[in-house]
């Protein structure tokens, strides 16, 4: 187990292409950190730099306070679980798991005991003599994890390890990995583009876009207080609704006005609105999550929307509605009376809404 420190880490390819730019992060001993972002955001490149599979163009990576920039992958004492498993096809499951220990000249009895105990933890005991080709995707993934845990490395690195599995197996393996982390209390860095995986597995998330870290924080902290519009949109499923509109000041009240939408901002947001827009007449983006919009049940201000699509998920219904030219996704209870192509009255919980700067996407409040 170890700490991991990234200081101004960058990866620059030929032609000054920055795949990763100035990443700073401190990962504590035993922490489960998720690198999350869309495809091509540099998260896998960063993970490969931590592993020593990719050269570090700028900055410093330290494992347990020791700078490892010049240390070969095999000497960093890390384990890496690949997206495509990367199991040695000509070796049995036991040989695959034992390979790293053999390379490090462990005693035969020690290798056997470690392989057997890892196989037990992962439910692979009966498959130890099989070749990877004779295993299912989920079993192969377990072998890849087993190969990592037998080594008892300082640091576990996972590169989208569940993306080749079917949906059901992914959920099972997700739970198993969480359990494994609890059991091992090891430092783990996990790359994924799946924000559900990120939210459910990590102690902390590092959200990346275009090679740049957008926000680092606990999953709920990021969900509730995104640093910018990108993070707000990326974390959460269905994603946050964004309404581009004018900020208007009428008397003492502040409004966000868009095509068919006229939203009076709650009192709690006034100070920020006043300092950011002085007298109004500026553009901004209002962000509101689908669960913060409700069907009107009593009195109060509401917005009339047209239901375009209803997705019945059993426990809830995801409704895609339109207000003028704006599309809004709403999470409705399973027993909703809403009908496709009918009007629906929606109430926005604006206390929970976010406002973003139009030009930069930065969160205002």
């Amino acid at each position: 187990m170890a700490t991991l420190t990234l200081r101004n880490v960058s990866k620059i390819y030929a032609g000054n292409v920055r795949a990763v730019s100035q990443v700073n992060a401190e990962i504590a001993d035993g922490e489960f950190v998720i690198l999350v972002g869309p495809s091509g955001c540099g998260k896998s490149t960063l993970l490969r730099m931590i592993a020593g599979l990719e050269e570090i163009s700028e900055g410093e990576i330290s494992i347990d306070k020791a700078v490892v920039n010049a240390v070969h992958a095999k000497d960093r004492d890390i384990a890496f679980v690949f997206q495509n498993y990367a199991l040695y096809p000509h070796m049995s499951v036991a040989e695959n798991m034992a390979f790293g220990l053999k390379m490090r000249k462990f005693a035969k009895t020690e290798i056997e005991s470690r392989v057997n105990s890892a196989a037990k933890v992962l439910g692979l005991t009966e498959y130890l003599q099989r070749k990877p080709g004779a295993l299912s995707g989920g079993q192969r993934q377990r072998v890849a994890v087993g190969r990592a845990i037998v080594r008892q490395p300082k640091l576990f690195l996972f590169d989208e390890p569940l993306s080749n599995l079917d949906a059901k197996m992914r959920v099972t393996m997700r739970a198993e990995l969480i359990k494994l982390h609890k059991q091992l209390q090891a430092t783990m860095v996990y790359v994924t583009h799946d924000q559900v995986e990120a939210m459910s597995m990590g102690d902390r998330l590092i959200v990346m876009k275009g090679g740049v870290v957008q926000q680092i924080g606990a999953p709920l902290e990021i969900y509730n207080n995104p640093a910018n519009q990108f993070v707000a949109g990326f974390i959460g499923s269905p994603p946050m609704n964004f309404i581009s509109g004018e900020i208007e000041k009428r008397g003492n009240d502040w409004f966000v006005v868009s095509d068919g939408i006229n939203l009076k901002m709650p009192l709690s947001k006034f100070p920020v609105l006043a300092s950011a827009f002085q007298n109004g007449d500026a553009k901004a983006v209002l962000g509101i999550r689908p669960e913060d919009i409700h069907e009107k049940s009593g009195d109060g201000n509401s917005i009339s929307a047209r239901v375009e699509i209803l997705e019945q998920l059993g426990g809830e219904v995801i409704a895609t509605c339109s207000v003028g030219t704006t599309e809004i996704t709403v999470r409705l209870p399973a027993r909703t009376q809403a009908q496709t192509d009918a009007q629906i009255e929606l109430v926005f919980d604006l206390e929970r809404a976010k406002l973003f700067e139009m030009a930069t996407g930065k969160t205002l409040v």
Binding site: L53, A73, K74, A79, F80, F82, Y88, P89, H90, R104
Partner: protein, 273 residues
């Protein structure tokens, strides 16, 4: 199956049978003649054995120094084949996986050597061998053929099909580049190794030109050379001659049957990627 597709199938089988016969006929003629009465065989050709003269084989084996020639051929063929597999594996790995200046032009130059026949190189090689005093030694039969562009090309193509992650996983597991090559990639390259083994072994086993030029003593004769000498001695004794030819041909045929599955897999692998 419709009548039309049945007819088509019959036609294809008939065609395949016809082509098989064309290829099998010389082999059949060889086998039959090798078993015929030498006097009758000298008198005329027949595809049907009138009698089974197994004695022909014993006489042919005794008539010339076949055991020694078999050993010479084996040493040459196995030596060259093993050498070519090792050099091709390592060079193929370098071309497929390592970055170095001039890699592309070097690879093109290497492929270009495929069009240069050995006959063009024979004089300079002969001069070198004379200077090294290697004429009439196994070195002369083995060393000049140790590297081969076809083998290197085959392994380069093969290694390019193996995912990088396998190697990276091995590096993280603590393996060196050398270990990765021999413990991870080579076991995966079995089809390519079998292909090169069969191609090279059969080519070397059947080679007449190299031993003819680089050796002159009786004790260094290979089977092909021995066969030529045998042919001179037993010009009209077709039965004995064919018995000797059977001896020489059997190892190639046997090897092909043994490695057929891997061989075809290897050709497919090399051809597709």
């Amino acid at each position: 199956m419709t009548t039309e597709s049945k007819q088509k199938a019959y036609f294809h089988y008939a065609l395949a049978l016809f082509v098989t016969l064309i290829f099998a006929l010389p082999l059949l003629a060889m086998l039959v003649t090798s078993l015929r009465d030498p006097a009758k065989a000298a008198a005329g050709f027949s595809l049907w054995p009138d009698s089974f003269h197994w004695q022909n084989y014993i006489e042919a084996w005794r008539a010339t120094n076949f055991p020694r020639q078999f050993i010479n051929s084996l040493v040459m063929a196995l030596g060259v084949t093993a050498g070519q597999i090792i050099t091709s594996l390592m060079a193929g790995y370098a071309f497929a996986r390592m970055e170095f200046t001039g890699k592309k032009p070097l690879f093109v130059a290497l492929l270009a050597t495929l069009v240069i026949p050995f006959q063009i190189l024979v004089i300079p090689v002969f001069i070198i061998l004379v200077k090294l005093s290697w004429i009439n030694t196994y070195w002369a039969l083995i060393i000049p053929s140790l590297a081969n562009a076809f083998g290197i090309f085959l392994f380069t193509q093969f290694f390019q099909t193996i995912p990088y992650e396998l190697e990276e996983a091995a590096y993280i597991d603590g393996a060196s580049r050398w270990t990765v090559l021999w413990k991870i990639l080579v076991p995966l390259a079995k089809p390519a190794i079998t292909t090169l083994f069969l191609f090279t072994f059969i080519a070397e086993w059947n080679d007449l030109f190299k031993p003819l030029v680089f050796t002159s003593t009786k004790s260094m004769r290979t089977v092909q050379l021995g066969l030529t000498v045998f042919q001179e001695q037993f010009k009209v004794d077709y039965a004995l001659l064919m018995a000797a030819v059977v001896f020489v041909t059997v190892p190639s045929i046997l090897l092909f049957f043994l490695g057929q599955k891997q061989f075809i897999k290897g050709i497919a692998t090399g051809g597709l990627k």
